[in-house]
Symmetry: C2
Subunit: 310 residues, 2 copies
C-alpha cells in the first residue's frame, strides 16, 4: 500500500518529468524554480516558465504541507472526526496551469493530489481540463478520448463520472458557461469494494503521467496556425473569464488565499494579461460565437470524435 | 423623513449629474446607457463610458431592486427578523468605478446606497476610495482632507471612524496591502440619539454630491503628466490587484455574482486590461517601490497634508 513518502517522492519526480517534457515541447522556455517553506510545516517547489516559444506564462508546482488540522478545514472538508485529540494532516500534490502564447493553442490545467490525516482518513483527488480560446471540435474530442483511454485502463465507470464532475466543477455560474471543453475531475477517491488504495494510486499516476502527451498533441496540432490581432484580442477576453473562474469560483484558489497559502504559487494560474469589455458580443456566425456555443455542459465529446472519424 | 421614493429619485438625479460632470471632465467620452429589469423585481440604469480622453473604461450604475427577502440574505446581513410572515426588501444605490487612461491618474470608486425591509428596518451605506497607480502624497492628502470636510459638516466623529473602516474594507489580505490610499466606508447608518433618518440621508447626499469635485481635482492635477511604457506596464499590474480585490474580497461583488445579479453591471468595475507577473518585485527606491510602501492601513493622510502645507 503506497505511503505518503512514496507518493510524495513520485509526485516530485512527476514535476521533474513534466517540466522536462514541457521544456522540450516549448523549445526555448526554461522553468525558474522557487523553493519555499510554510511556517506551519512543509513547503514547495514552484516552477514558472515565462516568455517561451509556446508557453507565454505557466507554472508547474509541487507542494507537500503538513501541520495541525485547523477546525475550519475539517468543516470546509465536511469531515467528521473525533477531535478529542489533535489531528494532523499531510497534503501533497502537483498543480499546473499553462497559458500559451498563441490564441489557437488551448490553456491547460492539471492537478493531482493526496491528502491524509493522522486519524487514518486519506484520499486522492485531481483533474485535468482544457480551455481553448477557439474550440476545435476535433481537438476537444481527441482530448476527451485520450482521457477516456487513461480512465478505462482502471475502471470504465471513471470517465463518465469524472467527465460529468468536471462539467460541473469547471463552470462559471455568473456567465452561464463552462470554463472550456472540460476534461475530468475527481475527489475523495478512497478504498471501496472495487478499489484498493494501490488501485487508486495507480490511477492517479496514470493521470499525471499522461499530461505531457495530452498537451503535446494540442500544441503540435495548433502551434503553426496563423493568427492576428483579432484572435489575440479574443484570447485576452477569454483569459479574463479564466481569471473570473479562478478568483470567484475555484475552491482550491479561494481556500488557498483565505488560509494564508503562498500567494504567488496560488496565483501563478493567472494569465500574463487579460481584458474586460463591457457587454462584449461576438458577431453572429463568427468563430468566437461558435466557441461560445460550445462552452456548455453535457457535450459528449467522445461521440463527436467517433462521428467525425467515420 | 425621507422615504424610498424620494431617495430613489434623488439617486437617479445623482447618476445624471455625475454622468454630465464626468463627460465634461473627460472632454470627449460619452456614457452609453443600458436599461435592465430584474425578473424578481426592479431594475437599473447601467451607464458605461469607454475610450474617453481621460477615462479608458468606467461605469456609473443606478439600480433599485425589490422583492421577497431571501432567507440567505437575512443570514448574510445578520439581521434578526420575525420571519413568520414574508419580508420584502427594497435596495437602491449608485455605484461608480472609473479606470483612467493615464497611469498618473488614480482609479476611483464610489457607492451610496439605501436599504429597507417591510418590517421597518432600514439603513444607509456607502463609501469612496482612491486607488492611485502611483501614490502622490499631496493628492492623497487632498482627497482625505476633502472627505473630512464633507464628513465634518455632519458629525466630526464620522471621518475618523469611516476612514478606519475604509482601511479595513479596501484591504487585500493575500497581498497584505491596501487597495489604494483608502477613503471612507460606512454601513448600517440608522437612527441614533445623535442622528435622525433625515440627518443620515443628508450625509449620504453630501457624499454623493462631492464625487465630481473630488475626482476633478485628481484628474486636473495629473492629466498632463507625462508617462511611458514603464508606467503603463505598472498600471496594468496594479489593475491586476484591483481585479484580485474585487473578485476575491469585495463583499458587494461576491454577493452580486452569487445571487444571480446582472453580471455585466457588477463587473463593469473591472479594468479594460490587467497583467499578472510571477513574483514581480519593484526596483529598490523606484517610484513603484515607494507606492507599495504607502499601501498600508493607518496612514494619517490629513496630517500628512498639514505637514507638507506648512
Amino acid at each position: 500500500m503506497p505511503n505518503k513518502e512514496e507518493i510524495t517522492n513520485w509526485l516530485k519526480g512527476l514535476q521533474d518529468s513534466i517540466c522536462s517534457g514541457l521544456e522540450a515541447l516549448d523549445g526555448s522556455g526554461r522553468f525558474q524554480e522557487d523553493l519555499w517553506e510554510r511556517p506551519e510545516g512543509g513547503g514547495g517547489r514552484t516552477r514558472v516558465l515565462t516568455e517561451g516559444t509556446i508557453v507565454e506564462k505557466g507554472g508547474v508546482n509541487f507542494s507537500a504541507v503538513e501541520g495541525n488540522m485547523p477546525p475550519k478545514l475539517l468543516k470546509v472538508l465536511r469531515v467528521e472526526a473525533d477531535t478529542s485529540e489533535p489531528i494532523t494532516f499531510y497534503a501533497t500534490g502537483v498543480s499546473i496551469v499553462l497559458h500559451p502564447r498563441s490564441p489557437r493553442t488551448p490553456i491547460i490545467h492539471m492537478n493531482v493530489r493526496y491528502f491524509e490525516m493522522s486519524n487514518g482518513t486519506w484520499w486522492f483527488g485531481g483533474g485535468i481540463d482544457l480551455t481553448p480560446h477557439y474550440v476545435d471540435e476535433q481537438l476537444a474530442s481527441d482530448f476527451h478520448q485520450q482521457l477516456k483511454t487513461v480512465c478505462d485502463e482502471h475502471d470504465t465507470a471513471y470517465y463518465p463520472a469524472f467527465k460529468t464532475w468536471a462539467d460541473d466543477y469547471f463552470f462559471i455560474p455568473h456567465r452561464n458557461e463552462t470554463r472550456g471543453v472540460g476534461g475530468i475531475f475527481f475527489d475523495r477517491l478512497q478504498t471501496t469494494d472495487q478499489h484498493s488504495k494501490a488501485d487508486r494510486w495507480a490511477f492517479l499516476q496514470s493521470v499525471g503521467s499522461a499530461f505531457v502527451d495530452l498537451y503535446s498533441h494540442q500544441v503540435n496540432a495548433t502551434k503553426d496556425l496563423p493568427y492576428g490581432e483579432n484572435e489575440s484580442n479574443w484570447q485576452r477576453l477569454r483569459r479574463g473569464r479564466y481569471v473570473e473562474f479562478n478568483l470567484v469560483w475555484d475552491r482550491g484558489t479561494k481556500f488557498g488565499l483565505e488560509t494564508n497559502g503562498r500567494t504567488e504559487s496560488i496565483l501563478m494560474s493567472l494569465p500574463p494579461q487579460a481584458d474586460w469589455a463591457y457587454s462584449y458580443e461576438a458577431a453572429e456566425n463568427s468563430p468566437e460565437a461558435k466557441t461560445l456555443d460550445l462552452l456548455k455542459k453535457e457535450i459528449n465529446w467522445v461521440e463527436k470524435l467517433m462521428e467525425t472519424s467515420i
